[in-house]
């Protein structure tokens, strides 16, 4: 049976060249880069080089890069690290602004910090999943210390106006300086979904912290980055050795970090071309779906969206039933329907966009990648048509 993987937003396969670059660091150049002997120093050379590569790619300095175990840890470190630092021996209630469509690593960390006394504002997007920078501006008060808005949404693919929000935060910083308010305000963005798809530059975006992950761009799982701008103070989450300038203990995952750097190398050289290819392929995909199936709606922003993301609602068809039928045809997708979770609540992202429960339950996400070809899309559309017809026949909804 033909197999078509369209869940690249969940994770990607490791690129052959990435695997090859990692290989020597398992058993040959294996030593702990924190050790002083030549074995360790050899590993450290690779680590330092990788750190420089990652830093360069986003316009940061090497010392501003903290390697972590993944995007979720980076998000946790950004929010908790700053919170713990600011509330240490101080009677201060930090205010955090985030969006209602963040990844669970941000939402659940905010919920945790709320229990610890933080005040949290969850900004709602418009119906396309777009956050209005003015809504953030209005929400900022004298205690606002962290603003965390994702670079692009993982479900609907909408790219957020990070640069505009960055400018607002920069102004707040200036005003606080003038008013002798020494409460810091930091801007964090989770760029896990954008890495390798659209350019990321920390100064252009105006962010103080930024989260990256390796496994969304053909790198290994279990490797992430938190960029932390010089001057931003945070408490570590993992208290151990002196690694990462004492901000993240634990022996380095050298092979993983080397893999991330290699994945970035590849993305850097292919990104522009690949972006165009994926946008064309996605637009073709949507058109083909619309040509063969009636009552299909696009979810997310029509053009401010990730090149590889296509999220649609197919009316009258429940998302998980559709997912399961596509799975039987060898096609892997994802859905915002409730049944896929143990909680029975449809995707918080689609709900925050003001979607009806039914529309959210009938949503399906196709996320394409490097190995997706036009003939794969043709196969999916061909399979999709009879599946939708069948499920609509079973459905009581008109």
């Amino acid at each position: 049976m033909k197999k078509v993987y369209l869940d690249y937003a969940a994770t990607t396969p490791v690129h052959k060249k990435v695997k090859k670059a990692m290989e020597p660091y398992f058993s040959d150049n294996f030593a702990n880069p924190a050790t002083l002997h030549q074995f360790g120093q050899d590993a450290k050379i690779g680590l330092d080089k990788a750190r420089k590569r990652v830093a360069n790619f986003i316009g940061a300095k090497s010392k501003e890069v903290i390697f972590t175990s993944g995007g979720s840890e980076s998000d946790n470190l950004a929010l908790k690290g700053v919170f713990f630092k600011l509330t240490q021996n101080k009677d201060f209630t930090p205010h955090i602004i985030t969006s209602a469509i963040e990844h669970s690593a941000i939402i659940n960390t905010c919920n945790f910090l709320k229990k610890r006394g933080a005040k949290v504002s969850y900004i709602k997007p418009d119906k396309n999943g777009l956050i209005n920078p003015d809504d953030i501006k209005k929400e900022i008060n004298k205690n606002t210390t962290i603003v965390s808005i994702m670079h692009a949404n993982n479900e609907v693919g909408t790219i957020e106006p990070i640069k505009e929000i960055g400018k607002i935060i920069a102004n707040v910083k200036k005003n606080r300086q003038v008013n002798n308010n020494d409460t810091p305000i930091y801007f964090h963005t989770d760029a896990v979904q954008t890495l390798g798809h659209i350019p990321i530059n920390i100064d252009d975006l105006g962010v103080d912290m930024l989260t990256l992950s390796a496994h969304k761009l053909y790198g290994p799982k279990g490797v992430g980055v938190l960029f932390v701008r010089e001057g931003v103070e945070l408490e570590p989450l993992i208290h151990a050795g002196e690694q990462e300038r004492e901000r993240r203990g634990s022996t380095h995952n050298t092979p993983g970090i080397i893999g991330l750097a290699k994945a970035i190398d590849i993305a850097d050289s292919e990104m522009e071309e690949e972006k165009e290819r994926l946008i064309n392929l996605r637009n073709y995909f949507l058109q083909e779906i619309k040509n063969s199936i009636k009552r299909v709606q696009l979810n997310g922003h029509p053009n401010k969206r990730l090149p590889n993301n296509l999220n649609v609602t197919i009316k009258g068809v429940e998302g998980e039933a559709l997912l399961m039928s596509l799975d039987e045809a060898g096609i892997a997708v994802s859905t915002g329907s409730a049944c896929s979770s143990t909680r029975l609540i449809p995707s918080h992202v689609l709900m925050a966009m003001g979607m009806s429960h039914l529309r959210a339950h009938s949503s399906i996400r196709f996320s394409m990648g490097k190995y997706t070809k036009k003939k794969d899309i043709d196969y999916v559309v061909k399979q999709l048509k009879p599946i939708v017809k069948r499920l609509r026949e079973i459905s009581p909804l008109k």
Binding site: E320, D327, I394
Partner: protein
């Protein structure tokens, strides 16, 4: 397949559900679920002399929800109303085989659809 076992009864009923469709002048209609939870089931029954002689269904929901209603329609056919009321979600679950725990609610919903249909039938009967 996916979170269900391949070639299971559940997938069999999902792929080829029994008794799907509308019914002309049903004697009872069960309607359960809502848009919020994402499962909506409609059960149509033909009843003669307190015996369920025919059953049909339509379901908006996941594979387990569709399979549960399909099994239910098989189970009720030929049963007296009082016997049909004894059909539990456990029976539906057993007929479908292994499924993840968070899918049990689908079998419960199907059992509820039957109870709802019979309840409405009896109410209608009393007002006659």
């Amino acid at each position: 397949m996916g979170c269900f076992s391949e070639n299971s009864k559940l997938m069999e009923h999902f792929n080829n559900p029994h008794n799907v469709g509308d019914m002309e002048n049903p004697d009872a209609i069960g309607h359960v679920g809502n848009a919020q939870c994402g499962d909506i089931m409609e059960l149509y029954l033909k009843i003669e002399n307190e015996i369920i002689v025919d059953a049909k269904f339509k379901t908006f929901g996941c594979a387990a929800a569709i399979a549960s209603t399909s099994v239910l329609t098989d189970l009720v056919k030929g049963k007296s109303l009082s016997k049909a009321l004894n059909i539990s979600n456990k029976e539906i679950k057993e007929m479908l085989g292994k499924m993840p725990a968070h899918k049990y609610h689908c079998t419960m919903l199907a059992a509820d659809a039957l109870k709802d249909a019979i309840k409405k039938y009896k109410e209608k009967d009393e007002t006659k």
